[in-house]
Symmetry: C2
Subunit: 252 residues, 2 copies
């Protein structure tokens, strides 16, 4: 490609098109770093202003993203995840053909907040185990998870290597705690400083927040989680049926 001033497009748009072509043919692959401003200035013989305008436009298209303190990277395609049954992160990633890994940031006993206590049906302030992890898909941070477990159960769970063992598997296969169902609460939110650090994104970036309370036999809550998914990396899909009203009411 040459950025030909005689072309009908402005220079920045020509450069943008050239970079889009390289992203599309994967010579700039998903997750890779964009060449530096300096090297783009040199390679395409354009001004720094032109390079910045092209990159700004790529950001607006969602094709590249700035990672704080790290540079500009080609974005990864959005994962499309089914939201139709209670599944854990490792199961979800396996269904998408992605490799799931985890990094444990912290695990400790904390007094339960009003919210955590309510979801785990405990008195407020009673001790619970909190586990903070980053969950990665093919090595890229996808979700910052906070898991709250009743103290006894949590103490047992945290004797295991939680970077290697999914908590759902431990509950079901090791600690005789079958999962029956879960309540999901879904919100669009913004990354706070903890989530932004954990996920390597700017503060204020969109977060798809799932609060999930999982129940064992007898509707006993055993696991309350706050799952902070990167909004730019995931969408959820479900299908819902129409239910006809039993009695057709007259229009007011």
């Amino acid at each position: 490609m040459s950025t030909d001033p005689a072309d009908h497009l402005p220079l920045y748009a020509q450069l943008e098109q050239a970079l889009i072509t390289r992203i599309a043919d994967r010579s700039l692959s998903p997750g890779s770093r964009l060449p530096s401003e300096d090297s783009l200035v040199q390679e395409y013989a354009v001004s720094r202003t032109t390079v910045r305008a092209a990159i700004q436009s790529l950001i607006q298209r969602g094709l590249v993203e700035i990672r704080r303190g790290k540079g500009t990277f080609v974005t990864l395609p959005k994962l499309t995840q089914e939201l139709t049954e209670l599944t854990g992160f490792v199961e979800d990633m396996e269904a998408l053909g992605r490799k799931a890994t985890a990094k444990v940031l912290d695990q400790r006993v904390v007094p339960s907040s009003e919210l955590v206590a309510r979801h785990l049906a405990l008195p407020q302030g009673s001790p619970v185990v909190r586990i903070q992890r980053v969950r990665l898909a093919d090595g890229h941070p996808l979700s910052f998870d906070e898991t709250y477990l009743p103290k006894e159960l949590g103490r047992k769970i945290t004797t295991n290597n939680l970077e290697a063992n999914p908590i759902f598997s431990l509950l079901e296969e090791k600690y005789n705690t079958p999962l029956i169902e879960a309540e999901y609460r879904l919100e669009a939110s913004c990354a706070d400083s903890t989530a932004s650090r954990a996920l390597g994104i700017e503060i204020g970036s969109p977060i798809f927040l799932i609060e999930r309370t999982s129940y064992s036999i007898g509707h006993r809550p055993v696991d309350y989680e706050k799952l902070h998914y990167r909004g730019d990396r995931i969408r959820f899909v479900t299908r819902l049926a129409r239910r006809k009203p039993a009695v057709q009411k007259g229009r007011k």
Copy 2:
């Protein structure tokens, strides 16, 4: 309340507490405008800096919000909406005891984008009817909706007053188009300039985006929508069951 300098809290925190009390006892009611900086300075005999620090802290707590060019308002509580069957906005608001209204911003025939064409099973570029509306709950903007309908059906629908008639009701009751089910795609996103103008929020504010394709008999797609919900106003709730794997595979 008096802001007593002898109190152990800093002045701004005392003012904040006083305002929280007024919000809690609803003498400052949800959706109402906060008194101006000037009147707070006068009423509580504190500096403008103190007033600003108190308001900043209330914003961080999510108790008040700035509306662009309009002032600072007491935030409304988040609606908690079921996501368990295919329902329209008016039905959803009725279930929550809220009054649904609508404001039509635009309705016109447009050529279908690749995305719209795919969801409505039409050739790309073929004409579709696009309807843009703001949906309000108790008079407060909650969602900016873009509805795309196949041209013939859309032309019939747009002969009606769409501020008074839900499209789902028109489809089902007037145009013999029963709705059977829908595919929902859920994302966390940020308000662009169109959505921010329509909803009266800042560009970049969190948006809970629902893309919904509704199907009639014979899995015929009849309605594709992009529903931009204010992220600060709504959460969705659903319950999912655990499905045991049919065959327990050995652990790798």
